[in-house]
Symmetry: C2
Subunit: 258 residues, 2 copies
């Protein structure tokens, strides 16, 4: 998982659990694909397989939205697409600003999935004066000085931060002060925001580290069988070495801040 909600830890809004909300976009995507293939109805079993989840979980998720299925038949694809879209708030237009037009910011500006679900890139903002006016994904980059006016003029409530870590908190503060209440943060920093502001985090480095952990464990388990007998002989000095006083400084690997 590349994220973690920062605020509103267990806010089950109007009865819809957070975990369910996180899966609704998944269902929506699968349903949209079915809709394009003109499939009229789908069973919970089929849809669950397409979305990669348990069918019981899917049914319980849908039960929070209401009784939209027909027993013995399944769910009407078009109707469900509409209901989920409405529940997620995708029936309205969401202007979004992207701050920090480096490699990642440019990639986000070009990302089709943004524009395709009601999200409209209202502006691209960068601190580098040399970037100003340069078009990225057909949209001219604007300077940070205009951040506040852009937010207000376009009624932007969602901001995307793709700046270096050092600039993220400052940008965040300005976004919030200008009226943004939801932030998607790609910078590897913990953002502090006032109550009422939602922050979601996408951290590429963290994802890889989690994969590395499991990868290491897999490698360890493979080797475990042959070392089991040997491990019994060794008095556990190898793994837990020198946990007594001070950590070895020379052994510390070259770990740099992401």
């Amino acid at each position: 998982m590349a994220t973690g909600r920062t605020h509103r830890p267990a806010t089950r809004s109007r009865g819809i659990p957070e975990a369910t909300v996180a899966r609704l976009p998944l269902y929506l995507r699968a349903l949209t694909a079915l809709s394009e293939r003109s499939v009229p109805t789908v069973s919970s079993e089929e849809l669950a397989a397409a979305a990669g989840v348990n069918s019981a979980k899917l049914r319980k998720d849908f039960s929070y939205l209401g009784s939209y299925g027909t027993r013995g038949v399944g769910y009407d694809v078009e109707y469900l697409v509409y209901q989920i879209s409405r529940e997620l708030g995708l029936t309205q237009d969401w202007p979004v600003v992207i701050v920090g037009i480096g490699n990642l910011g440019a990639a986000l500006a070009n990302y089709g999935g943004f524009a395709s679900r009601g999200f409209r890139v209202a502006a691209l903002i960068d601190a580098d004066p040399a970037m100003a006016g340069k078009p990225v994904a057909g949209i001219p980059v604007q300077h940070t000085d205009e951040l506040e006016s852009i937010i207000r003029d376009n009624g932007v409530s969602i901001g995307v931060i793709a700046t270096p870590a050092g600039a993220a908190q400052q940008v965040c503060d300005r976004l919030v002060a200008a009226g943004v209440t939801s932030i998607l943060n790609f910078a590897p920093t913990v953002l502090s925001v006032p109550d009422g502001v939602d922050v979601r985090k996408v951290d590429l480095s963290i994802e890889l580290q989690i994969l590395a952990f499991h990868e290491q464990r897999k490698a360890g388990e493979e080797a475990a069988a042959e070392v089991t007998a040997q491990a019994a002989a060794v008095p556990a000095t190898t793994r837990e070495e020198s946990a007594t006083d001070q950590g070895p400084d020379g052994d510390v690997p070259a770990v740099m801040p992401a």
Copy 2:
């Protein structure tokens, strides 16, 4: 949250809960920052604040790794950096391939956080023959034909998929067949993999949709107070309209597949 583990749903590997593993990189980053400022020790309270988590949670997380703290003092920063790095498997070198060198793939190749924690970009792979040989982030792009040999020659076990959704499953299958056992997927698709292969997903579109949901709810709550009296008069026809037979087709918003 930008991800969701696909396989190994609740695998508490060697006793370390999945939720804890997901937070270790967060602690590591905060600790590395302290280390650079030559801070010798840190209390759970301070570190928790820096990582944006509860201090009790942090202490419990560390207790899974062992008793590395000193009561009345706190944790030795350098030692903890080393222990967490080792636990996460960052003391070894992880060669990584990135498949799909579009905007996003290029951004990933240039992303500093990859190389800085033991992850080495072993190769960039793209299906477009025109890209072959072109250097991105100082690394020449190679053609998809060479995928298998690259994986085997470099002993790659972690693959990053940044291709369009349509190509993702096929790329995934080839990666897995060639020996990759951990995949970080940026394509908006559900990947199916055999047992033993870990998939983590980063989905930019989903993150925005979750934010939109909360944003909509916030807006709805603001307006709720003034509409409460009015809502009582309206016989609930507005919200749940025509939930009887068929969903309105004309009303369905223009939702495209991400």
